[in-house]
């Protein structure tokens, strides 16, 4: 059983959904991101999704765009992202990387998988890697023992859901809405998408995109195995007057969301 499965199984045993928190590496600084991610984990986030900042984030809204841009300006590199993984994984929470495909291909597909596994990462979410282009990635993640998470969307047909879930390991990422990150609303399509995904896979299904509040998390926890929150955390760091205040705010939101996924 992979580490991710252990976390989902433990959450299920508590009759709740797992909470997955996202932040981009290198924002507001390499160490600042590590502090914020630790605060998340200390306050009840079960798994960390560490974003690898990219120059052309096609499915990210203004919040994550702004944070990514600032991380890149401050000099974040793929190697520093891997170092961040190492620091966060040491906190005990399973750590995945969320990255667009270009940085992996440039770093070297096998090399990225090997180095991420060596850093203690457990998996990778690749939002713009289609199954049709994923052959080398499947081999590399299998060889490195990493989970590879692909997305299904409200527009996905049954055939597409079958294809995507067929190559996914760890968990299936269900995009709650048609759109970019940071929208602050979960569409009515999310429960239907999760329901349509279930027959195709025994993997846990986690819902992300647009999840901001504990109430939304509680609602999603009724029908999904995991709740993914990203932009809401990033926004707190963007708005904070000081890095320390940002970290504290991230911790409070994590605690709030952790209570949400436990609400019955």
């Amino acid at each position: 059983m992979s580490k991710l499965h252990e976390v989902f199984a433990a959450a299920k045993a508590e009759n709740r959904a797992a909470l997955i928190g996202y932040l981009p590496a290198g924002f507001p600084s390499v160490d600042g991101a590590i502090d914020a991610l630790r605060a998340m984990v200390e306050n009840g986030v079960d798994m960390v999704e560490l974003g690898l900042p990219y120059s052309d984030p096609l499915i990210d809204g203004p919040t994550i765009q702004a944070a990514s841009e600032r991380a890149l300006e401050a000099g974040i590199t793929t190697k520093l992202v891997l170092a961040t993984v190492e620091a966060v994984a040491a906190s005990g929470a399973p750590t995945l990387v969320m990255t667009y495909w270009s940085p992996i291909e440039r770093y070297g597909v096998e090399r990225f998988a090997t180095d991420l596994a060596a850093a203690g990462g457990v998996g990778v979410i690749t939002p713009d890697l289609t199954p049709e282009e994923a052959g080398p990635w499947i081999d590399a993640t299998d060889a490195a023992g990493l989970d590879r998470v692909f997305l299904v969307a409200p527009s996905s047909t049954e055939e597409r859901i079958a294809v995507v879930t067929g190559i996914t390991t760890g968990f299936v990422y269900a995009a709650s809405l048609m759109g970019v990150t940071g929208v602050q609303s979960v569409s009515a399509a999310a429960p239907a998408l999760v329901a349509r995904t279930r027959p195709h896979t025994s993997l846990p299904v986690a819902v992300g995109l647009g999840v901001t509040t504990a109430a939304q998390a509680a609602d999603i926890a009724q029908y999904a195995d995991g709740v993914i929150v990203g932009s809401a955390f990033v926004r707190l760091l963007l708005d904070a007057a000081t890095p320390a205040e940002g970290v504290a705010a991230v911790g409070r939101l994590a605690a709030d969301l952790a209570a949400g996924v436990r609400r019955h």
């Binding site: 052309d56 096609l58 809204g61 890149l72 270009s102 770093y107 939002p127 997305l151 969307a153 048609m178």
Partner: protein, 413 residues
């Protein structure tokens, strides 16, 4: 079967690959829309009614066929080569962009979508899209980098007059790349109602193939015209390459003619060695950008590097995957033209032929001046005159100082 024949008849493969290039690198949310588009495109390709409708528009609305102009005085500057301009600048809206736009706009109507979005650099594709949207009663939103809205203000006004909404994009380098990001975000959000009318031979499959097929008419016409006019095939065909749609369009007509050299000229900006350029094949590396694998201007971490060119339409850090493939197999040759070389050629065409070209096109003209001197006076070169320069009058006036008299032209060439 020769290599070039197989290039034309077998590419891309079923997944949109040109060799190792192309494919689809997009969010899952867009796959269904891309599949729907692919199906609509393939059905239209074999539907005589669609083809008749498109041909009717290309003839009565665009003004096709565009002429092939014998440019004797310009040729004298190009080593005495016989230079023939394929006059896409004379199309309605002033560039080759309308060829592709009319095809995709008809597909939009066929798919039952009511809204089109587009990215634009120089504004030519945006103007063409706004034009087709007005013609067919579609809502139209054009994303344009803020920097480009400034240097191509005339085209912004044209789009607004045509009823389009122009959204200035302030992210990143504020040019074409960022406009394309923003258009993709709109598309993923509104994909049910909206067609993303990509203007170049890049993006995820089926765009590179589909845009090529809609632009191929340039090459098909040019080949027949040059045979009629000269009685033989040209020695070379030249075009500027940003994303590469005008170049693919004219190259496609000659891919099966191995004696015809194909030359693409990229935007060299301040010079490729300066790092400030947009010469993606000449100075880039293999990577993934905007949904496709091709040559990309990127750093060691796969982060896109900002491109630089005086020409907004070529100021793009990617290039169509078919160009990457043609470069790799050696069927087409790509090199860079600096801002200065392009502007010199711009002026030569103005003064020798009475034609003000787009600054994009001026890159192909500069390459032709160089190539003609290599090939000599017996050679025949067809240049894709992809657009006219009305939109560039301000930039060119500033460059040559014709408005304030600071830097008067040195006389007729």
């Amino acid at each position: 079967m020769t290599t070039t024949e197989s290039v034309r008849t077998t590419l891309p493969d079923a997944l949109g690959h040109f060799g190792r290039y192309g494919g689809r690198f997009v969010p899952e949310a867009l796959i269904v829309a891309l599949d729907e588009l692919d199906a609509a495109f393939r059905a239209a390709q074999v539907d005589p009614a669609f083809q008749a409708e498109l041909t009717h528009l290309l003839t009565t609305y665009t003004g096709r066929p565009s002429p092939l102009t014998d440019c004797v005085r310009f040729g004298a500057q190009a080593g005495g080569a016989r230079v023939l301009l394929k006059r896409e600048d004379l199309n309605h809206t002033g560039s080759h962009k309308i060829n592709n736009v009319l095809g995709q706009a008809l597909l939009t109507v066929r798919m039952g979508k009511k809204r089109v979005i587009a990215e634009t650099g120089a504004g030519q594709h945006g103007v063409a899209t706004a034009t087709a949207a007005a013609l067919m009663g579609l809502e139209c939103v054009v994303y344009m980098g803020e920097e480009d809205t400034r240097r191509q203000a005339l085209n912004v006004a044209r789009m607004k007059l045509l009823g389009a909404e122009v959204v200035p994009v302030t992210a990143g380098s504020r040019t074409l790349k960022d406009a394309m990001n923003e258009a993709m975000r709109d598309w993923v959000t509104n994909v049910d109602s909206t067609h993303y009318l990509i203007g170049t031979v890049a993006g995820p499959a089926p765009f590179p193939e589909m845009v090529r097929e809609f632009q191929k008419i340039i090459g098909v016409e040019a080949r027949a015209q040059v045979l009629e006019l000269v009685g033989r095939l040209p020695d070379a065909v030249t075009a500027c390459v940003g994303g590469g749609s005008n170049a693919i369009g004219i190259f496609s007509g000659f891919l099966d003619d191995p004696s015809v050299g194909l030359y693409g000229y990229e935007a060299g900006g301040d010079g490729v060695e300066s790092g400030r350029h947009a010469a993606t094949i000449t100075g880039g590396s293999v990577g993934v950008l905007h949904g496709t694998r091709s040559y990309v201007l990127q750093d060691d971490d796969g982060q896109t590097v900002e491109s630089h060119s005086i020409s907004a339409g070529l100021d793009y850090p990617g290039v169509g995957p078919e160009h990457a493939f043609l470069a790799d197999i050696g069927r087409a040759h790509y090199s860079a033209i600096t801002d200065t070389e392009a502007m010199d050629a711009f002026r030569v065409l103005c003064l020798t032929e009475g034609i003000i070209p787009a600054i994009e096109t001026a890159h192909a003209l500069a390459g032709t001046l160089r190539l003609g001197r290599e090939l000599g006076p017996d050679s025949v070169i067809v240049v894709n005159c992809s657009g006219r320069g009305d939109k560039d009058v301000e930039t060119a006036s500033r460059w040559f100082g014709v408005l304030d008299g600071e830097r008067a032209p040195e006389g007729r060439a």
